[in-house]
Symmetry: C2
Subunit: 429 residues, 2 copies
């Protein structure tokens, strides 16, 4: 790994808009699904997935068949992970509230789950059961009654779907599963077809076509953010074990060649030791080619004068994952402004959070931790304001409201108040 | 107003994408600001606003001059409204939390304000002081240290800006104000220029170019939702005063010709009376032409069998504003799934919420109340997860985490755990 002073480094970030050709194709797929419905979904399954799809919806019997195909230890681990994730997300749940005023008015905020949420799950090797749990459980905890999964069909698996994905979905409270992928699945969730009712929100990772389709339907439905490449920043001092740091950097680097793994440290000794450890550990990794390219292209060790200076670098990077391996990791927590998930101390290796601890692994990438949050229960709820104004309140404040409305030239607004004051005046007289 | 059975009515909703030409212009303006910075802003001010802008930033002296230009009663009303808005939004504020586990691990969620937020305020007649309060105060309550307002310059006002807007901004905690509008202002907030540092989020209403520019920069920064035309639905039974209902429908209709005002009622008598009242009240309205066209094109009275059936219609419409004028309005509150703000009872006329009561008047339009919320403090905060895993926790759960990682083919993830188990094992041995 390159070692350089932090001041000499600038992270290049790119927002993905796709090419004009990609956008045209996505738009055409979406319009096709809007006009042709299920027929378009079947024809795209044939064209893009090479699969003839008869029933779009996965049956209860197929889900039961999937359970028979996964082993006990997988099921037990998934269930324990799901319990942890559920317990953490339960703590995020908020209640509706009322504020009772002295004049008899009541103001309030109502919290409600979305009615129907679509979860996109990629096909093939990028289909991760852990990702199904992380996307579906917050919706389940929010109380979303209809959680719909879509995933591209293949020829293998249980009726074209990896049985582990089906089991994870069932465990996480997914209520409907459809064999449809790509931009066409996003279109079906946004606009609905004969067999797939439209959803209110679409979440989950996907390829460039899925991302562009989500961007396109944003407004018709809500979407989660468009995920960029995965990132880790490790902030460490000379108390950190270089083998731990190297292993954690590599666990990020193996995701894909675009992933970035960065160490920020005031310790020249640690910098050197980690660089050597990365090389050593790389040698025996099954996904060595990917991890090596990721480390070479996007991995770097940034040296800083102090841990405090390191924190400033971290805030500029706004990483998806941040690990702090330092003598007293909590000492720096208050100063961290921008990070999706913060892992503190030697035992909080990032995979702990990817799979098991409970907090969500769907995190803001590409520097968006400046303004975005880990996937959470709020993402699956909506608020409504409540205003119950009393007679006393309108008598007391009516004139001021009318004055503000008239200042803005909105006379009908003022008159809606005036007509009440007049009638109440008559009632009083 | 037309009267028809609710079953015969379908609301057409359109997501605004703009024409190809409009998108091309917006993209070109944004790229120009990215490459030329302040010079581009000055040149666009000349071209689009017809104004020579020397200093982009409004000075403290200009803000003081604005105070001298507004009258006492306006200032008092704005301050009282701001207090109410602040008090309501304070109740939305959330704290960071920790969850201490039996094995010594600590999980948590940190809440932090965004650092820098941009507030777009339209120029000319569409510049509403109330809108400045409603957009800025939630950011102020969230604790955002830098709240930046941009607004297109004119030749009138205080140095080109309506003094009431400047005063509202100062009262609402806006920390910087710049004379720049249109897509170029959005570009400046997203990418920064020599005199305007980049923001993390952009909020506030604007014309089609502002909306398209916000859509374009989404991802570089966060944006609020793209506002559609304003809407009101009144759900009323025969206890409602037709004059109140008509006045409230018209207060929505006067906004613009695209605004929609809908009455849903089981009472044929109320339907007739409201239709007549709307005609009567329309006659003397200063904005009669706008309100009349809005009522004719987008106004409708929908008859239903019962209030319960009316609630189902409301949930389909998912209105921005909902008024319930019925014998016991709270009786229906639990069944309302989709509405931005809910006004209950005869005295809760919509302008009460537009100006004064405290809840936000920036609400989800165009049916997006299905998945979106009124502007609130959460929109100006971000969350980070915290994971502090204990030695005991990794010893207990390490094997399960490794199994899940290996199932997904991510060996480096498993090894990041394994290396810790091995070292701890050695330490123990």
């Amino acid at each position: 790994m390159k070692i350089m002073p932090a001041g000499a480094f600038a992270l290049e970030r790119q927002v993905v808009y796709g090419s004009e050709e990609q956008n045209r194709r996505v738009k055409s797929i979406i319009e096709h699904v809007r006009s042709e419905g299920d027929a378009a979904l079947r024809s795209f399954a044939q064209e893009f997935d090479g699969v003839t799809v008869d029933q779009l919806r996965v049956s209860e019997a197929e889900i039961q068949a999937a359970y028979a195909r996964v082993d006990e230890s997988f099921l037990a681990a998934i269930r324990e992970a799901a319990d942890n994730i559920r317990r953490f997300h339960e703590k995020q749940k908020r209640t509706s509230w009322m504020d009772l005023q002295a004049d008899g008015s009541i103001l309030g905020q109502i919290m409600r789950p979305l009615r129907r949420v679509g979860l996109y799950v990629p096909g093939g090797k990028a289909a991760y059961p852990s990702s199904v749990l992380m996307n579906a459980i917050p919706a389940q905890v929010a109380g979303v009654p209809e959680i719909v999964m879509v995933t591209p069909p293949a020829t293998a698996g249980v009726a074209g779907i990896d049985p582990h994905i089906l089991v994870a979905a069932a465990e996480a409270g997914v209520s409907e599963i459809y064999r449809v992928g790509g931009a066409q699945a996003v279109a079906a969730l946004a606009y609905g077809t004969e067999s797939i009712p439209a959803a209110d929100k679409i979440v989950g990772p996907g390829n460039i076509y899925v991302a562009l389709a989500k961007r396109y339907v944003f407004g018709v439905v809500d979407i989660d953010s468009i995920a960029g490449p995965s990132e880790i920043v490790v902030l460490a001092d000379d108390t950190a074990d270089p083998a731990y740091v190297a292993a954690d950097l590599l666990s990020q680097a193996e995701h894909d060649e675009m992933a970035s793994a960065i160490l920020v440290t005031p310790s020249a000794a640690l910098a050197k030791a980690v660089a050597a450890e990365v090389d050593r550990q790389l040698e025996s990794l099954p996904r060595r080619a990917i991890a090596e390219k990721s480390i070479r292209d996007n991995g770097v060790i940034l040296t800083v004068a102090t841990l405090e200076a390191g924190v400033r670098v971290v805030n500029q990077l706004a990483p998806e994952h941040l690990e702090i391996l330092a003598a007293d990791p909590f000492q720096h927590l208050s100063a961290i402004e921008n990070a999706g998930a913060i892992f503190l101390g030697p035992y909080s290796s990032e995979p702990v959070g990817d799979y098991f601890a409970g907090p969500n692994h769907v995190l803001p990438t590409n520097g968006t931790a400046r303004f975005s949050s880990p996937l959470n229960v709020d993402h699956f709820m909506k608020k409504s304001s409540v205003i119950y104004y009393s007679k006393e309140a309108i008598q007391q404040n009516g004139d001021k409201i009318m004055a503000l409305a008239r200042h803005e030239g909105l006379e009908a607004h003022a008159r809606a108040i005036q007509i009440r004051l007049q009638k109440e005046g008559i009632a009083r007289g």
